[in-house]
Amino acid sequence: MSTVLDHSAQTGLAASLKNVSKSYKHFQLKQIDLELQRGTVVGLIGPNGAGKSTTMRILMGLVNPDSGSVSALGKPISSREAAAKQEIGFFSDDMRLYQPESIGWHMQFVRSLYPTWDDQYAHELLDRFGLIERQAVKGLSQGQRVKSMLLLVLARRPQLLVLDEPTNGLDPVAKHEVLTELMSVVKDESRTILYSSHNTQDVEQISDQIIFIDRGRVIAADDRDVFLERWKRIKLHVPDGWRSPSVAGLKLESEFKQLRVFSLNQFQPEVPARLAASGATVEAVESMTLEEIFISTVMRGREEAGL
């Protein structure tokens, strides 16, 4: 599936993956095509094991694809190339810092590799995140560890941020602090964020665009608002022997006696009238949450694939 995300206010690509595939013994990433426009926040949503982390690691050159090409900020990406990484900040929940060393030591180490390191901003983040510069990593809580790593990423002022599950395991306050900081980062319109999570609420909060990925395939991609506008839940009260009219994207989710609940992924204003004309009473047309849309998309995709 080809996924080209447009953003009218932007020009140029921040990153692209073309026809990227990668096979492991028990998992395959299949022909991923992604183009991230500069200045957008793209949420990558998928269940555990869907291929989010593999996609991000390929984008960072940590994993080499079996086929396809990858570039970021106009430069090729592979394990043999380092140039693009000067302007990319990568965070992964699986990433660890050196346990015996302090946050300050890590700041010094990262600063030595980045001419763009902003020391003042780094110290602002230390204060904002409530971190202590001389504290050793081994004594940090999960939230402090995540914040420390984000500090090391953000203080480089990267043009592209690749964040793999950055809010995983955080308490609500820590999550709020992290998301608030990310929101302030995207005020700079030239910066792009690719953000993965299986928590749709986090993604919905900060993303302009959404990509759904399941079992190694991109199954849907669009602007967040388009997703929310197109997907509706329709509740109908139907007479005996009622037959559903042909409406593109309409799928029965549940039924109880005369009540039918449908999900619709191509909602048009005239759809309720068409359903009413078929003899049904439209009880409600409701918006769906991103989580509900995600689940419906995954289940429809699996049904179509016969899984």
Binding site: G61, L62, S79, A82, D94, M95
Partner: protein, 224 residues
């Protein structure tokens, strides 16, 4: 290749291993001094300690600096920085080798000096030192290749154990060669052809091992 990045990675690992480095250096010095004491039991204990320090330092440094980065998931952090696989590999193999060579060189130099300075030591016995120390370095480089290829501490330990057994066979066979026995007893340092041949073979294994380690490390497709 980014020499600045390689230098930074090298210094980072050198700093992280500073405590181990000091400990192995100190243990190496103590064991070499014991080797030079004119009491056969103490000197033998010193020799055993020296071999133990060399083997333990090798496996420990490979475990912490090379395999530990993968097992502890810090490699992902390092590789997310602007370093290429070649930069990472060169920095890593250089630092593992350097940290090993610190106690190795200290022990070799200390024993060599003792052989020439102490009045009861025969100068000819100094030929044993390069033979044994290059054998230890051979074992280390083969462990390094194993660690790079398998990324497994278990396999690396297996190779270390095999190397340890081979060291005993080496000592038993080589040290009983008539040319070497004669050279050891001499008051003058001599280099019989067999010794030179063994040293050349050991050197070639070391160079081959380091080249293979770098080759396999830089050919890795996935780093995590």
């Amino acid at each position: 290749m980014n020499t600045q990045a390689i230098g930074i990675l090298f210094l980072k690992d050198l700093f992280l291993s500073r405590r181990h480095l000091f400990a192995y250096f100190a243990a190496g010095m103590v064991s070499s001094v014991l080797t030079c004491i004119p009491d056969s039991t103490v000197s033998f204990v010193g020799f055993l300690l020296m071999i133990t320090v060399a083997i333990a330092a090798g496996i420990h440094l490979i475990g912490t600096l090379l395999l530990g980065e993968s097992l502890g998931q810090t490699r992902m952090f390092v590789m997310s920085l602007p370093v290429s696989l070649l930069d990472y590999s060169l920095g890593k193999i250089a630092v593992v080798l350097t940290t090993y060579l610190v106690p190795w060189t200290a022990m070799l130099v200390c024993c060599t000096i003792c052989t020439f300075v102490l009045p009861w030591a025969k100068h000819g016995s100094a030929i044993v030192l390069p033979l044994v120390f290059l054998f230890l370095l051979c074992g280390f480089t083969i462990q390094l290749v194993t660690a790079v290829v398998t990324e497994s501490l278990g396999w690396t330990i297996c190779v270390m154990v095999a190397g340890n057994v081979l060291l005993n066979v080496f000592l038993m066979k080589v040290m009983s060669l008539p040319e070497i026995v004669a050279a050891k007893q001499s008051d003058v340092l001599m280099w019989p052809p067999i010794v030179v041949q063994i040293l050349v073979v050991e050197s070639l294994i070391i160079i081959g091992g380091l080249t293979a380690a770098l080759f396999f490390q830089t050919r890795k497709r996935d780093l995590i």
